[in-house]
């Protein structure tokens, strides 16, 4: 394989010129999905972890069930199930909604576990000090426990957020026009692998800054502990 063949396969200028707008459209959608999933999954997961710290046995049973269910299931399975199954039951969700909903729930499950691990790592003395000063449960959680627990949970939170938003590529299977879908459509129209190269670069453009940002946040938020 000559160097020329390699370049015309993966970096064909004509193909780049023709298909980059499609890839940009895909990027916009992937970025939108990523933000929507991180916000919804993050908030839901955090709320569940806070609720779990109240230690109501009946509610915690369902929280654990929820977290284990979504952590155990490969995300592609519920994506296919919801997209192809629900219409038969009379409920039609758009491909975008199915992808967003599924990945938000998966992220929420992991966020709940990470935050709960963080909350549990805080010594009971912190709860006691805050509660004995007259702070209520929610105040103690907000001002004393979560600021410490979230710092502990931060590495696993950012890792999960990145890992799960990357799974938006699964949208290809149900026709969500995100990066991979756009790139592989362009690849089948043109017979050239160059659009896939563009797709790869588009993923890097979105997720590399996220990875760098999370590394920065982790070092920034690490505070001195006694």
């Amino acid at each position: 394989m000559s160097i020329d063949r390699f370049f015309t396969t993966f970096f064909d200028p004509a193909m780049i010129a023709r298909y980059w707008p499609m890839i940009i459209e895909g990027m916009a959608l992937t970025a939108l999905l990523a933000v929507a999933i991180i916000v919804c999954g993050g908030v839901l997961g955090l709320l569940l972890a806070c609720l779990r710290s109240r230690r109501w046995p009946a509610i915690n049973f369902f929280i654990v069930l929820f977290a284990d269910f979504w952590r155990a299931l490969p995300p592609l399975v519920p994506i296919l199930l919801l997209y192809f199954g629900l219409p038969n039951a009379g409920l039609e969700l758009s491909a975008f909604t199915v992808l967003w909903l599924t990945l938000s729930l998966v992220l929420a499950a992991f966020v709940e576990e990470a935050c709960w691990a963080g909350i549990r790592a805080i010594r009971p003395g912190q709860w006691e000090a805050a509660r004995s000063s007259g702070m209520g449960f929610v105040q103690t959680l907000c001002w004393v426990i979560l600021p410490q627990a979230l710092r502990i949970a931060l590495p696993s939170l950012t890792n999960r957020a990145i890992a799960i938003t990357k799974m938006t590529a699964l949208g290809t299977v149900i026709g969500v026009p995100e990066i991979l879908n756009q790139a592989s459509s362009a690849q089948s129209f043109s017979g050239s692998a160059t659009p896939l190269t563009l797709g790869a670069l588009a993923y890097l453009a979105i997720f590399l800054p996220l990875v760098v940002l999370s590394r920065w946040a982790e070092s920034r938020l690490a505070w001195k502990r006694g």
Binding site: R123, G125, E128, R131, S132, S133, G134, M135, P147, Q148
Partner: protein, 260 residues
């Protein structure tokens, strides 16, 4: 209806002196293990009461029942005329008037010394930021920690951390401060600075209930010493009497053991 009704007495004559804190027939078990058995104790305003006794005698549990960090299995905790064991009492409102200082300090590691003191002032007492800071700096001054207001807890020595914790408790102007073995986690060289702060608080008229192993402190500073063993108050009295002529042989044995 006899002495068990300070609430009624208080309602009848709010100015009349009555104990700020009274424990009545307090019982506590963890599972089958009886920790406290019919404990009675009265703390008058302005008193410094030291509780001594062997480990496992229930002293710390008794202290934690005073602000309901533990729930009693029976009996009453009357604070300022209110029965804290009643489900009608808003415990958060009561706790802001009861300071607590812990063996392990329990400072908030994500906040500086000043932030540790201002947190409850802002969130519980509802003071605006500047006012909370002024009150907090004053409290830090009283424990000799004002110049460390911007320090992170982890950069402070144990004795300094405990003094910040005391500032955190007194900044809320509590009616009583509970001390749970405040010097037991400290290097011997640092104990003195914390005890000196407690002595000063006592001179300022702060009501204090102190669970401690510091016999010399109890003897020199306390108004009254309570000796507990096996979940019961064995005897109590002025320190000189209790230390020099204890009535109960268990008290005598404990005191001679501790002073060796």
């Amino acid at each position: 209806m006899s002495a068990a009704n300070p609430a009624q007495r208080a309602a009848a004559s709010p100015q009349a002196p009555y104990p700020i804190l009274e424990l009545i027939k307090l019982h506590k078990r963890f599972g089958d293990h009886v920790v406290l058995e019919a404990v009675d104790l009265r703390i008058e305003p302005g008193e410094l009461v030291c509780v001594i006794g062997p480990s496992g005698s229930g002293k710390s549990t008794m202290l934690r029942l005073c602000n309901q960090l533990e729930r009693a299995c029976g009996g009453q905790v009357i604070f300022d005329g209110q029965d804290l064991t009643s489900s009608l009492v808003s415990i958060d409102r009561v706790r802001r008037q009861i300071g607590m200082v812990f063996q392990q300090f329990n400072l908030y590691p994500h906040l500086r010394a000043l932030g540790n003191v201002t947190l409850a002032l802002k969130r519980v007492a509802g003071l605006p930021r500047r006012e909370a800071q002024a009150v907090a700096l004053d409290a830090l001054e009283r424990v000799g920690m004002r110049e460390h207001a911007n320090a992170w807890p982890s950069t402070l020595s144990g004795g300094q951390q405990q003094r910040v914790a005391i500032a955190r408790a007194i900044a809320m102007s509590p009616k009583i401060v509970l001390f749970d073995e405040p010097t037991s986690a400290l290097d011997p060289t640092l104990v003195g600075s914390v005890l000196a702060v407690m002595r000063r608080l006592r001179e300022e008229g702060m009501t204090m209930l102190v669970v401690t192993h510091e016999m010399q402190f109890a003897r020199a500073v306390a108004d009254r010493v309570v000796f507990m063993a096996d979940g019961k108050v064995i005897e109590q009295g002025p320190p000189e009497q209790l230390f020099t002529s204890p009535r109960d042989p268990r008290t005598a044995a404990f005191i001679s053991g501790e002073s060796n």
